[in-house]
Symmetry: C2
Subunit: 374 residues, 2 copies
């Protein structure tokens, strides 16, 4: 049965699971590297596999604009196009329409926006988003939603009605049986709105539920509260996806609160800025203190970058703006998060998650003081 979600162990709200997809099973909790333009920047598919990536996210907004979803369909779909034969998740384009495009006009039917590439005018509706995502052919597709500012109660409440109507239209528009359409719970930082949104979407009996509208400016404590409110409300037997979250401490806190799927540009984006994830934070290799440092980013790290290259060499590559800097730092950062997810899965299986999480989080500032996910 496609998209069967099997929970094999739990530890409090945390779950160890397996989600079957047309492109193979996903072990959860899972972190999905982001391949915005049908490539995880600086990584070949084989590099991702070697790092243990199983799920890759691609962006509907970007691929619709360039090279075009119909072209990708005609070339056999996104899996073949980008030569990734594992599971793929596409977002709906909603978040990018609201965050990237210049002029936009939203109405109850959809959104008109201008391309960030050339200023040309385009329109997304729920039906159009689903049609594009069907052309792309990802295993998991997302409903088209509005992403309101999380702290404005009246706006969030009003937006919720629109998002729910769009959810129904997405369900009605969907035709492909080999794709799972996930709902997106909105509602900002407000418990009543989050619960109302969850209740509505549960009525649509979707194969998975995402939590949207977080990591967009609210505090860590607010993010955690939303997850805790939703934990008893969301169905235990469906995968839960926390969108756009990927700071290491957020992953721990998400898993502890029952999240199964994460995605974030953080590890790949900060790599291209010269930053490497280490336990407790990150180091920026532009810093002059690494000029003659012969040690790897992390002597205890098992990634291919730390096996061969010094901080001094990496700093040289960063300062010289060499492509290899992006390759090696992306490799390290993805390894950091993907092996962390592996540690979570092992800890849930062994029943040691609480201890593992507590030890891990002890290296990070308390939530209220923490740096926010990008």
């Amino acid at each position: 049965m496609p998209f069967q979600f099997t929970i094999t162990a739990t530890s409090g709200p945390a779950r160890l699971g397996r989600l079957d997809t047309p492109h193979g099973p996903l072990e959860t909790p899972v972190f999905a590297p982001v391949g915005t333009q049908a490539t995880v920047k600086a990584m070949r598919p084989r590099d991702l596999r070697e790092l243990g990536a199983t799920l890759v996210l691609a962006n509907t907004y970007h691929l619709y604009l360039r090279p075009g979803d119909e072209l990708i369909r005609d070339l056999g779909g996104l899996h073949r196009f980008m030569a990734w034969d594992g599971p793929i998740l596409t977002d709906s384009g909603g978040f990018q329409v609201f965050s990237l495009s210049d002029t936009r006009r939203i109405d109850d039917d959809g959104v008109t926006f201008k391309s960030h590439l050339d200023g040309s005018s385009h329109r997304f509706t729920p039906e159009r988003s689903i049609a594009i995502q069907e052309n792309l052919g990802a295993d998991i597709i997302m409903m088209f939603d509005e992403c309101p500012p999380p702290n404005e109660y009246d706006y969030v409440k009003q937006s919720l009605g629109r998002t729910h109507a769009w959810a129904e239209r997405c369900v009605a528009a969907k035709t492909r049986p080999d794709q799972a359409l996930f709902g997106i719970v909105q509602g900002g930082v407000f418990r009543d709105l989050r619960e109302q949104s969850a209740a509505f979407l549960l009525g649509l009996d979707l194969p998975g539920y995402a939590i949207g509208g977080l990591a967009v400016g609210e505090s860590k404590a607010e993010m955690h509260a939303v997850l805790e409110w939703l934990h008893p409300v969301l169905p235990a037997n469906k995968p839960r996806y926390l969108m756009g979250v990927g700071a290491p401490e957020d992953l721990v806190n998400g898993v502890l609160r029952g999240i199964d799927i994460f995605d974030c540009v953080l590890p790949t984006r900060i790599a291209r800025n010269g930053a490497a994830l280490v336990l407790g934070g990150r180091i920026n290799l532009r810093n002059a203190q690494y000029t003659a440092d012969p040690s790897p980013i992390d002597p205890t790290c098992a990634c291919p970058t730390c096996a061969h290259f010094s901080r001094a060499y990496l700093r040289h590559l960063v300062m010289a703006n060499e492509i290899l800097a992006h390759i090696l730092l992306t490799t390290h950062n993805l390894h950091f998060l993907l092996s962390l997810m592996d540690d979570f899965r092992k800890a849930i299986r062994k029943g040691t998650l609480a201890d593992f999480a507590s030890e891990f989080l002890s290296h990070y500032p308390p939530a209220e003081l923490g740096e926010h996910s990008e």
Copy 2:
């Protein structure tokens, strides 16, 4: 014995050989990818090994300026710094001083120049170039020479005296027994000057001889003539290195005229411009004709790029300015040249080089009409 050069087969002037170095033997004829800043752009060392690269070139001028040769020495030398445990060749910095730096003043003692990075003033002399190259620690190092315009007889003739005096000073300055110092035959496109230069350098009894000052504006016919003049003059039992040449047809013509070592930025540089080498020329993936082309760059190519990715996908990556475009096209182009070198070696061994070269060159325009190597 270090730097022993053993010729195992010949085919006319062409030679199959093995050059022993402190970092292992080199099969010749060999093409060296260029790692200007201690990285072959977009390639990890393991990628280079997988493609069959055995010798990598690095640039003295660039590494002296950034991160500094003393830093690299203190970190264990260039091999450890860039994690390449095979043979490395460094140029002397001469060519870059004459081609890249802004203000320069040449006198009989050396060259004063301004850094292309920050305009700071620096001075290279033969002794300084050798000291820097000893700090870097490559297996093969080059004498510091002047690179005059190849067609100006009087200037080339005058420059030759200086270059020869510098050659003697390089020999005198050299201290490391684990590095082979190659001489560089100059003399522009003039037979008497080339022969005069070769005769002088032969008197220094160097372990290898490079042919410099070509691929800088002269015609293909002139390049071939220089190689043919030098073939009977250069000692048969020493490796011969044609500097800065790497267009496929130039490699064939060089091997046919007795060249053992080549280097060139061409395969890596054109890759970053969206161009892929194919038999008979190159295709530029920016071209709209590849927008929906499902075939690989070359259906008969055995490289990892052609095994998985369509021209349409590569064009998308190029148009979207994705790092993966550089990775995949560099991979293909290096594979093209490195497997061509492998074909040369096999053909010399089997005694079929003439037929192989004739067939290969039939796909390219005649020499006089050919595009010049970059």
